[in-house]
Symmetry: C2
Subunit: 143 residues, 2 copies
DNA sequence: TATTGTTATACTCTATAACTATA
DNA sequence: TATAGTTATAGAGTATAACAATA
């Protein structure tokens, strides 16, 4: 067996944990032909209908320039609607078919999050969110 | 202030934490014109001289096809040497200049890991590694 | 002047397929 | 047959720059 000498580095293990978890999530989301990024936008609009495209980008850490093709793709698929609310801003909302998908995505995510938490020994679970939020910090403005 | 409704999802916060931490690391590594992936390979060879290219890939979760350009680039920069040890395997080692860089990279990583840990409240630090290792799991064979 | 949205573009990392050569 | 290395290629995701239009 090949042991990994980098395994004592928290940043490295954090990255490996994130990659492995994302891989599992994307596998699950494949059933809806969705990527994790797309699902996160659908979840966001689902609980914050009427926000602006750039607001959504700021919250999710996605730049303006990358939000454009993302929303365009979901709009083409009939999941998302864009409505001009001022000369330069547009409001995002889910279409009826987007709302329908939202129900399934929420169930899938709940399942995935439960599986993720289940990997952690029960006596450590209470510390997962505080630790991850601390590691996140709040200094990553997507500018 | 825009609160993020996805903030209660551990998988989402894990991803954001990893992205933020990697961004900080890559900023630091920029001083050596290195990416995190390249630094991880240098660290690996530094503590496991003489392993094979495909062994390194298996440990770091990088596929054979992606290891080739990675080692080629570091070899071109004079940091890494490849030596044929059998007809089909090649052993990786650091050149003298690679060994020299290793010292700096190790110091930089130590600094970065300390900063990362410092973000976590002191009373939770003991749980960081057990939790991250559990979230990682061991089911991500790079094929 | 600052913000919003868009396009174009480039880079990193990852993924598969196909090929050669070797064990 | 399975493994090692390589090449080509494609797809995400992210980054900057530049532009038009608007607040």
């Amino acid at each position: 067996m090949m042991t990994d000498p980098l395994i004592h580095l928290p940043g490295y293990v954090l990255r490996r944990a994130s990659i492995a978890t994302m891989k599992r999530l994307n596998d699950h989301l494949g059933a809806f032909d969705l990527r994790a990024t797309e699902a996160s936008l659908i979840l966001l609009i689902g609980s914050r209908g009427g926000l602006t495209q750039s607001e959504a980008g700021r919250i999710l850490g996605i730049k303006r320039a990358n939000m454009a093709p993302l929303t365009a793709k979901l709009e083409t698929r009939g999941l998302l609607a864009r409505r001009q609310i001022s000369g330069r801003s547009q409001e995002l909302s889910l279409t009826p078919s987007g709302e329908q998908l939202l129900v399934d995505v929420r169930a899938l995510i709940a399942q995935h999050e439960a599986e993720t938490m289940a990997r952690v020994p029960q006596e450590l679970r209470a510390f997962v969110m505080p630790i991850l939020l601390a590691l996140w910090g709040q200094d990553d403005s997507p500018a």
